[in-house]
Symmetry: C2
C-alpha cells in the first residue's frame, strides 16, 4: 500500500507542497508515495498579475499555470471539498460530471484551502459588489467596465451617464490599490476610442477604513502611493467604511450615497466553511498549527497558507505573531511541511518554520510602484521595474515568461485592447438588493424578468392617462412576485414598482420563467392568483 | 438634419460597410452623415481563427477586433435587434443596462444580420450539442474538453472513461473539418500531461451527410483532407446524419448510438428571426436583393452578407446563382452597398456587384492545409503556410498581427496550454433531454438539482435493503417534478429516475431552488404535495 497524502487547495501553498513531496520522497527513503491534490480549477492563479487582466496587458491564460504541468505526477481532482472526517481519515469532495461524491482516504492531510470572499451580513454586497480574487472576477470586471463605457458613449441622460462612469473600489490594501491603479490607467487609455467620452468624465474613488492606504508597507511608501494616485485623479476617501450597496449606488457608513454601477470590494475574506465545520483546533476560522506546520494535537493533519496560524520564528508567548498571508510565506511553509511529512513517515525529527519574509512590492500603474525589500524602501520607476522583473522571474514556465515579456513590450507601444470578452452565459436566476425609494422598474419599460420578493417591501404605482399622476394601488412583501404579466401578455410593464423597505429580490429570466409557468400548473395558478390579487388584469 | 444610416449586424459585411461609408462620404459630396451600427458584441469575430481558440495557440482576444477601433466615428449600439419597421423607418433594439428599449430612426437601413445557429426541431440538440460560431462557443468547447480530460484521468469506470474521451463533430464543411482537426491536434498534444491517459484512448469522429467532406472545394482537395485526417486517426462517418442527442450519446439516422459527452454541431444555421418577421421580400429567410445590394422593391433598405440573396455576375434567369456566404464576398458587397447608398443620396447611378471570388483555404492542423486559389489547387504544407500568411495579412490591426505572429511562433516550440478558463457563472437553470432507458439520477447519488418534466415520461424506482431489487413505485410525466426531497432534507437521492418516453427536463440549481421554495409558499406547497403523491417522505 502506498502512503497517500491528500492536499486540499491548489494555491501556492498546496501546489508547492505537492511539488516538494514528489521531488524529495525518494531521497528521504519514501518509495511508495501517492500525492492527491483537490482544487476547483486545474490551474494555480498567479495573484500579483491578476490586476493586469483588467487592461488585458498580459494574456488571460498567462496569469495562471496548469497544475498538472507544475507538478507532474500529482493526482489532481477538480472538485470542491465538502467535508473533512479526521476520525475516519477521509475527505469528501463534490460530484464531478457524474453525480457520485468522491471520497479520498488519506494517511496525511494538508489543509491549504485559503480563505473565501464573503459578503454575508453586508447589505446588498453579495448582490452588487464585485469581488477580486479569481481569474473569473478579474475578467468579469474588465467586461463590466467596457460595457459601461460602450453604454455611456450613447447615453443621453447626464445623471445616468455620470453614474456609469463612476468607479468605486473598497479596500486600500495591496489588492485594492493595484486594482484602482490598473482600472484608472485602463479607462484613461481607452476613452479616446469613444467619440463622446472625455477623460475627465470618469471618476475613480478608493474607499479605505484607516487613515492611510497600503498598511502592509512603511508609512512613507503608503503616503507616496496615496499622493501619486491623488495626483492622477483618484479620489481617496479615508477613514470611510462601506455600509451597503444596491444596483444604483454604494452607501458609506455616514449615509452618503455614491451613484455608481461599479463597486469592487477587495476587503472581506472569511474562513473557509469546510474548515469551520472540521473537528480541528482553530482560532477565528484559521487552523492552529505548531511551528512544524502540523495542526495542534494532530499526528497527520498539516496546514499551510492563508487558512493556517503558523507561529513566526520571533513569536513569544506574551506577543504572538503568525506568518502573514503572502505567497512568499506560503511557499516556504510548503517546503517545511513537505519535509516534515516525509520525516514523520521515516521517523526522523521535524524542523520548524523560520522564514522571516523578504519584503513587499506593489505596482501603481503608469510605470510607478512601491517596494520594501530587506528593510530598504523604494518608490517610483525603479520600484515598478523591480516589480516586473521579480514577478516575471517567479512566473512558472518558460513559455509563460516569454509570452508575458512580449505582452509587456507590446503594451508599452500600443493602446490596450477594448474587446469585451462576454463569454459566460447569463444566468437564468439573479439576486438583487434595493433600498427605499429605488425603482425596480417603471410603467412602460420593456420587461424581461420576473421578480420574487425574499425580504422587504415595495409599492405598486399606476399612472392613468398620459399626464396622470402615479397612484399607489397595492403594497407587496415577502413571498410575493411581480413583473410576470408583461411576459405572459407580451407588453410593456403595466405598473411601476418602488421599494419602500430594504428589499432582496430574486429574478428569473423570461425564457426560463415562461418554461416554468407553461409547464407547471401549480406555479402558473400561483402567479396568476397573485396578479389578480394586485388588481392587474 | 444629418442623413442617418443604420447598420444591423457587426460581422464583416456590417463593419466594412460602415468603414466605407465614413471614408467615402465627403468625397462623394455627402457632408452630414451619421452611421449607426447595432451589434450584440463590441467586436468583429475573425471567424477563420476561431478554431485556434480550442488549442489556445492564439490569444483569446486576438481572434476578435474591437469595432470602435476598426471604424472610428461609427455610433455603436451594443444591443440585440428586436424588430424592423419599414413603414415608419425605425429599428427597435433590446434594452441595455436600463430597461428602456432603443428606437433608431433611419434614412437608409443596411441589414447584415447573418444567420443564427438553430437546433429547433432536432431532438436534444438544443440541450446537448455545442454550436461553434462565436468566441464564447469556441472557449466553451476548449474548457469542456479540458474538463473531460481532467475527469477521465481519475475515472475508474472504463465505459464512462471511453465516453468522456469520444469527441464527435457533426458537419464536414470548412467549419466542421477545421474544428475536428484542431480538436484532434490539441488533445493529442496535451494527453502527455495526464498520468493515466494514452493517446489511443481518445476517439475522434466526423459525421457528414454527403459522401465526401469539404464540398466547398474541388473533389481532389476534399479527398486529400479526408485521407489525411483518417491517417491521423479521425474516423469519418460519411453519408450519415445526426438524428438526436442526449447528455450521454449522439444518435445517428440509422439508430446507432455513439456514447459521448462532446457533440459539436457546425451544421444547422437558420435565418434570423428579425428578418423572418420584417415586411421585406425574402426566400427561405434570406432577403432578396438586386445586384446593387438594395432589397427588391425598396428604396432605402439594403442587405449584405449571409442573410442576403445577391445575384452573382454570371447569374442567368434559367440558372440562378447567388453570392456565397464568405467573408471575401461580404467585404466586396459592403463596398458596393456603401458606394450605392452615397450615390442614391446624391442622385448618381448605382453600380452592380461583380466580384467572382478568389478561392478557398482550410487549415487541417499539424502544418497541413488545402487551398484553391484562382482555380489552382494546393494541398499539404504549402497550403497551410498560405493559410497562415493570408489570414495574418487580413487580420485587422498591427498589434494583433504582431501578437498572433508571436503566438504562432511560440506554439511551434512549446506544447499547448491546458488551463481551463472556467470564467462564466454556471447558470441556475438548465435544459436537458433524455431518451428511454437513460437514468436522470440513481438512488444514493448526491443531489444538487431539482428537475421539472416539460415533455415525456419517467419511472421512479426504489431499491429496498442492500441487495434488494429496484421496484417501480410511480410513473411521472409533464408538469411533475422530482429530486427536491434530497435538497429539502440534505441527504442522497432516495430513488432512481429512469426515462421511459423521450423526455425534456428543466432543472434548477440547489441554491436558487432553495431560495424559491423557502420564500414562495405556493411553490413549496406544490413541491411537497408532488413528493407526497409519489410516496416519498
Amino acid at each position: 500500500m502506498p502512503t497517500r497524502i491528500v492536499i486540499l487547495g491548489g494555491g501556492f501553498a498546496g501546489v508547492y507542497a505537492a511539488k516538494r513531496l514528489l521531488k524529495r520522497a525518494r531521497r528521504c527513503g519514501v518509495h511508495d508515495l501517492e500525492v492527491h491534490l483537490v482544487n476547483r480549477e486545474n490551474y494555480l492563479v498567479f495573484q500579483p498579475m491578476l490586476p493586469e487582466v483588467i487592461s488585458g496587458s498580459v494574456g488571460l491564460a498567462d496569469t495562471v499555470s496548469p497544475i498538472r504541468r507544475l507538478v507532474p505526477g500529482v493526482k489532481l481532482h477538480m472538485r470542491d471539498v465538502e467535508s473533512i472526517d479526521t476520525a475516519n481519515r477521509t475527505v469528501t469532495c463534490s460530484p464531478g460530471l457524474r453525480p457520485k461524491p468522491l471520497i479520498l482516504p488519506y494517511d496525511h492531510l494538508i489543509v491549504a484551502l485559503g480563505n473565501v470572499t464573503d459578503f454575508r451580513g453586508m447589505t446588498g454586497l453579495a448582490e452588487h459588489a464585485m469581488p477580486f480574487k479569481t481569474l473569473g472576477d478579474a475578467l468579469a470586471l474588465r467586461n463590466h467596465i467596457i460595457r459601461l463605457l460602450d453604454e455611456a458613449d450613447t447615453e443621453t441622460n447626464p445623471e445616468i451617464r455620470k453614474q456609469m462612469l463612476t468607479f468605486v473600489v473598497a479596500g486600500g490594501g495591496f489588492s485594492g490599490v493595484e486594482v484602482i491603479a490598473e482600472l484608472h490607467s485602463f479607462v484613461r487609455r481607452i476613452t479616446d476610442d469613444y467619440a463622446n467620452l472625455k477623460r475627465d468624465d470618469c471618476r475613480f474613488i478608493l474607499l479605505h477604513s484607516r487613515d492611510r492606504i497600503l498598511p502592509e508597507v512603511a508609512e512613507s511608501l503608503g503616503l507616496y502611493a496615496q499622493r501619486l494616485l491623488q495626483k492622477r485623479g483618484v479620489e481617496m476617501m479615508l477613514n470611510t467604511r462601506l455600509a451597503a450597496a444596491t444596483g444604483e449606488y454604494a452607501m458609506l457608513g455616514d449615509g452618503t450615497r455614491i451613484p455608481t454601477k461599479t463597486l469592487v470590494a477587495t476587503v472581506p475574506s472569511s474562513p473557509n466553511p469546510v474548515i469551520e465545520a472540521a473537528d480541528l483546533p482553530k482560532d477565528k476560522g484559521r487552523l492552529i498549527a505548531e511551528s512544524t506546520t502540523r495542526v495542534k494535537g494532530s499526528t497527520n493533519v498539516w496546514t499551510l497558507g492563508d487558512c493556517a496560524l503558523i507561529p513566526m520564528p520571533d513569536d513569544k508567548p506574551d506577543k504572538r505573531s503568525f506568518a502573514p498571508p503572502t505567497a512568499q510565506h506560503a511557499i516556504r511553509e510548503a517546503a517545511v511541511c513537505a519535509d516534515n511529512i516525509l520525516a514523520s513517515i521515516t521517523n526522523k525529527p521535524l524542523r520548524p518554520f523560520t522564514f522571516k519574509g523578504l519584503g513587499s512590492l506593489a505596482a501603481l500603474g503608469h510605470r510607478r510602484g512601491v517596494a520594501q525589500v530587506f528593510g530598504v524602501k523604494l518608490s517610483g520607476f525603479f520600484a515598478w521595474w523591480m516589480w516586473r522583473t521579480i514577478y516575471l522571474a517567479k512566473l512558472p514556465g518558460l513559455d509563460r515568461k516569454i509570452r508575458v515579456a512580449i505582452a509587456w513590450t507590446i503594451d508599452l507601444i500600443f493602446p490596450p485592447d477594448l474587446v469585451q470578452l462576454r463569454i459566460g452565459k447569463t444566468s437564468g436566476v439573479n439576486h438583487e438588493h434595493f433600498e427605499p425609494g429605488q425603482f425596480v422598474f417603471e410603467q412602460g419599460d420593456l420587461g424581461d424578468r420576473v421578480y420574487i420578493i425574499m425580504k422587504g417591501k415595495a409599492e405598486v404605482l399606476i399612472k392613468t392617462g398620459d399626464n396622470g399622476e402615479a397612484k399607489k394601488v397595492a403594497e407587496i412583501g415577502p413571498g410575493q412576485y411581480f413583473g410576470e404579466m408583461a411576459l405572459l401578455h407580451r407588453r410593456p410593464r403595466s405598473a411601476t414598482i418602488r421599494c419602500t423597505e430594504p428589499m432582496d429580490l430574486m429574478s428569473i429570466e423570461k425564457g426560463d420563467f415562461t418554461a416554468l409557468v407553461m409547464n407547471v400548473d401549480a406555479i402558473r395558478t400561483a402567479f396568476e392568483a397573485a396578479a389578480l390579487a394586485r388588481g392587474e388584469k
